[in-house]
Symmetry: C2
Subunit: 616 residues, 2 copies
């Protein structure tokens, strides 16, 4: 086995046959772990993102009143969460075979809106990787301050490691997913409930807010709306269960929807307690990238469990674990969706095929490249990345709910309860989408909106090309195989052993064989003519003059002339090529074949073939 093939086997393992494809079904407890890491891990940063906005309101003279809006916002979000959960509950039962936003939108709202949903999801998955890994690194730096200054390196390293695992195609093992997910749930709830129990009834500790001197003329409700928009990051990943219904044990829809309810309850509970503690203990977000930076979660853990306690480290490391797991889920979703979009002819077909380890290698590599670019561009800073994030998710939510609304209409169930619930969902998520777009536009949402437009345009252009290709290549039963006459032209730079096999091959291919010799050196003409009478096997030798010392131009001219004389002629140009034992030896050999191939590349009736002779 060649070296690179061996290396590939060692790194990525033996190939897996198609029929060994993974069909294990998950019980609910593992299904929760597999599909909820993305949603639940949002708790690790959502509170901090809301507080970032409220801290601004608190410092510019509006006083503590706005700062106190954190817990109320959590309850508003809880209301939205219930609506979205009900909507997805319905989607799961309506599409038990798996109802991703793309499929639901496409089949109910048509190709155009389906593509927007597809574009929103692709961008969302890329951001899931970038945001989750960045937040994971922030959690890590809170526990291990020594890595301060290397945040970007660690984040990129983590993405590369996750990529490697996914290229190996590690099977989605419920057990492995279960550990960090349940550890995070246990750690967060313990911290939240313990902190609540200790703090409730006592007056809250006031935050160290320093109001600015001058009263800024700022629209406070805009800030509140913005804070609410920030809280919506807690809802990212909630749709994962509805995509993966078929991974659950039978009855799939039943089990999936029960898991959804459990997940939503856990999500809200964690978010509430974390936010309550943050507010009650007067904790404020710190400036990321400064030495000694700790996330809000880490500060709460320090306040509740004590700094450097077991509880503190347990929470931090399980947070890192679930966030990296969340990034990993995008590695299942992005390539699967890309493959679906490629099959629908709106992404390049190379994204459609699975590699020999049953994973979509190309999709994985595209995701990695995009995520690393984002991490580098935004310096692995969660605060900078989050404003880009929620907009894609909510666009997909809105389209998915709207698709469900249209579905009920088509089924003649207008104004039934499911219709009304989905309608409320669609309207609410639509309003939230617009709020996010408006309030976060300047902070980075514009990047996502432009990217959305760009990806949509790309879908359109790719689809146009494939349609054109299908038209061009479509075949009718009346189409005939064209008549072809062949002529073989054999390039003979000088006579040597390798040429003999090329002569044999040329003679076997056609009765019309001509040998071509380009005279780069007048002195060699006599020799080649003499050699050819000995070995030339009655093949006519054409001597081509090259006044400008080009090897390619005289061949081009001769071939063009032959085609002009007989337009039906298929010309095969045979270029003998020495194959050295070691690849680097090819630096010492002329590379005529490549340049001739390139030069003849645009001729329709010409095929350039290398006949190689191997050096022992």
């Amino acid at each position: 086995m060649p070296f690179f093939a061996q290396l590939k086997r060692v790194l990525f393992g033996q190939p897996i046959a198609t029929k060994q494809a993974h069909t294990e079904r998950l019980p609910k407890r593992y299904g929760l772990a597999v599909f909820s890491s993305d949603a639940l891990s949002s708790v690790a940063y959502a509170t901090e993102e809301v507080q970032l906005i409220l801290k601004l309101a608190g410092t510019i003279g509006a006083g503590i009143a706005y700062y106190n809006k954190l817990v109320p916002i959590v309850f508003v979000l809880g209301f939205l969460l219930v609506i979205i959960a009900i909507s997805y509950y319905q989607t799961i039962h309506a599409y038990p075979e798996g109802g991703g936003s793309y499929s639901v939108s496409k089949s109910n709202l048509g190709h155009g809106l389906g593509r927007i949903a597809g574009a929103a999801l692709l961008i969302d998955y890329i951001l899931t990787v970038a945001v989750s890994v960045s937040a994971g690194v922030a959690a890590l730096v809170s526990a291990v301050p020594a890595i301060h200054g290397y945040e970007i390196h660690v984040a990129v390293g983590a993405v590369v490691f996750i990529t490697f695992l996914n290229l190996r195609g590690a099977k989605e093992s419920g057990a492995i997913f279960a550990i960090p997910t349940y550890a995070f749930i246990v750690g967060t709830l313990t911290m939240g409930i313990y902190g609540f129990a200790m703090g409730v009834g006592k007056p809250p500790i006031p935050p160290p807010l320093v109001p600015m001197e001058e009263g800024y003329d700022i629209v406070m409700w805009f800030l509140l709306l913005k804070a609410f928009a920030a809280s919506c990051t807690a809802l990212t990943g909630i749709e994962a269960i509805s995509n993966g219904v078929q991974a659950f044990k039978k009855p799939e829809a039943e089990n999936a929807s029960k898991t959804l309810i459990v997940m939503v309850v856990i999500l809200f509970t964690m978010f509430f307690f974390v936010s309550w503690c943050a507010h009650h203990y007067g904790i404020l977000p710190q400036e990321p990238g400064t030495p000694g930076y700790q996330t809000v979660m880490a500060q709460i853990a320090g306040a509740v469990f004590g700094a450097n306690s077991f509880g503190f480290y347990f929470l931090q490391f399980s947070t890192v674990g679930i966030l990296f797991l969340a990034a990993n889920t995008a590695y299942a979703d992005f390539p699967r969706l890309s493959s679906l979009l490629a099959r629908d002819g709106i992404l390049p077909r190379v994204l459609q095929s699975q590699g020999d380890r049953l994973v979509f290698n190309n999709g994985i590599l595209v995701l990695t490249a995009a995520a690393i670019l984002l991490i580098l561009g935004f310096r692995a800073d969660t605060h900078l990345l989050v404003p880009l994030y929620a907009i894609g998710v909510f666009t997909a939510f809105t389209l998915s709910q709207s698709g469900m609304v249209v579905r009920w209409l088509k089924l003649g169930r207008a104004w039934s309860l499911p219709f009304v619930l989905n309608l409320i969902g669609a309207i609410m998520t639509g309003i939230v989408s617009i709020s996010i777009a408006l309030t976060k536009f300047e902070d980075g949402a514009w990047v996502t909106i432009f990217a959305l437009g760009g990806v949509y345009l790309m879908f359109h252009l790719i689809n146009k090309h494939y349609k054109y290709l299908a038209r061009e290549l479509s075949i009718e039963p009346t189409d005939q195989i064209p008549q072809a006459e062949t002529a073989v032209m054999l390039l003979v730079p000088r006579m040597h052993k390798g040429i003999l096999q090329a002569i044999a091959y040329a003679q076997a291919l056609s009765t019309d064989v001509r040998a071509m010799h380009v005279t780069l050196d007048q002195k060699s003409v006599g020799q080649i003519k003499k050699d050819w009478t000995t070995f030339g096997a009655d093949i006519p030798l054409v001597i081509l003059e090259s006044p400008y010392r080009s090897l390619v131009d005289p061949i081009l001219e001769y071939v063009d002339q032959a085609i002009e004389e007989n337009p039906d002629l298929m010309v095969t140009v045979i270029v003998p090529q020495a194959m050295p034992k070691y690849p680097w030896h090819s630096l010492l050999h002329s590379n005529a074949a490549t340049s001739i191939k390139r030069a003849l590349g645009s001729r329709k009736n010409v095929v350039v073939t290398n006949v190689r002779y191997f050096l022992s």
Copy 2:
């Protein structure tokens, strides 16, 4: 004409036919300008290099005595110059067809020493570019202090510009060379003689030497030898005339040798007056790279002509001009020598051929890459580069003179006057070579010595490969054209219009045609079978299962099996390939041909051919 071809024409001009090759002969006055820029331009930095060493001696307690050795060293060098000039005078008459050090060494001393001379010259030409351009930039920064800090940029820019001119193949026009060369001679001699006339008889101005407190235990004669070794840079380039005898008007040897004598006289005169002025006006080298740095030449010009006078600027700009010209001469010499070495089978053959503008493009590009690497590595600092320089030149001198000695012996003229003169030359230059190697070893000569060994080893390995190739490929009149049976295997991913032409082509090539379909998707098998009965033209369709979803592996297996059954079989695998209108569309097409070609690359009896169909 395609875009890149058009761009090439605009940048590099129309092709030049072989028969238009430049054959203009030069009169002596132009011959001096063309061949002496390298040697004469050394005056621009040689004095400074000697002073650098003497300054050190002056400061470490040995007092002014050693500093005063500058002019005596110039006279010792003058003696060496006369010996070398006489040697080359003899070489010119012995080899009127052009006696480069490589040819003279090879034909008299054998291949081994010839190769050492060749390696020394190649390295010398690269250093000529790096040193001359760096010294040119130092002269420029002395006149235009504003470019301080951009020395490396300007140097690299100059090399790129010279490269561009040489790729265009600007004819060596005597008139263009004449301007900066004669301007430099006039400027330098005016400055030197005027400075001498004003200063002679008056006591010299003492240099601002500050002796160090502690007396270092340094071997003073070693410093003196080192200073002398530094002065030898003044002799670089002196061999140019003997390489180019055939460029002179008839009688060539006569005219060339007269030009050599004139050049040597001018060189010594300039070097003497510049060094005398430097010493008499108490001028010392400054630290390069500091703001306000001026070369010793510029300081003399400032002292003699006055700062910012016309004379000052005239001298500085003509210095820049002759130094860049000197770099340019290496662009004629390096590619020409490379081509010679390639013809002798010790450098890759790609260096042998001339491009369509009659220049050796590949050699030019190798020289540019090496020179730029040197300039970047040594920060365009003449003082750092010069210690690398002279060793290669003197190695070539020594070998060339030794070759002449052996030649006289072979001609039976032992102890004749020419023999004795060349013997003295060989011994003297040999001693100087060793002196330079020893005194400058630490300062950088080791780089050159290792490079010399490396290039020599490269010559050896390349030659070994070509010899092996010649053995492998040598043909005997008894060699027979082998018998070849052909089978054509046509890859059919799905049925479309492009396949029809491929079918026609396959049928024209062979009577044994098989179609191969790899089932990546079980659903498509029925379709392809149905289509094949309609369009397949009685060609058998082989369905290849692919349990691991690989396109390549089943093809490999099938081809291997066919060859195993019939080892004489030449298999042609035809891969239909869509050729999109725009190259970037190929991202949207599968690239099966490339991976199949790579996979089958090591099979001896297999030819992989693309039959392309063009999208209109």
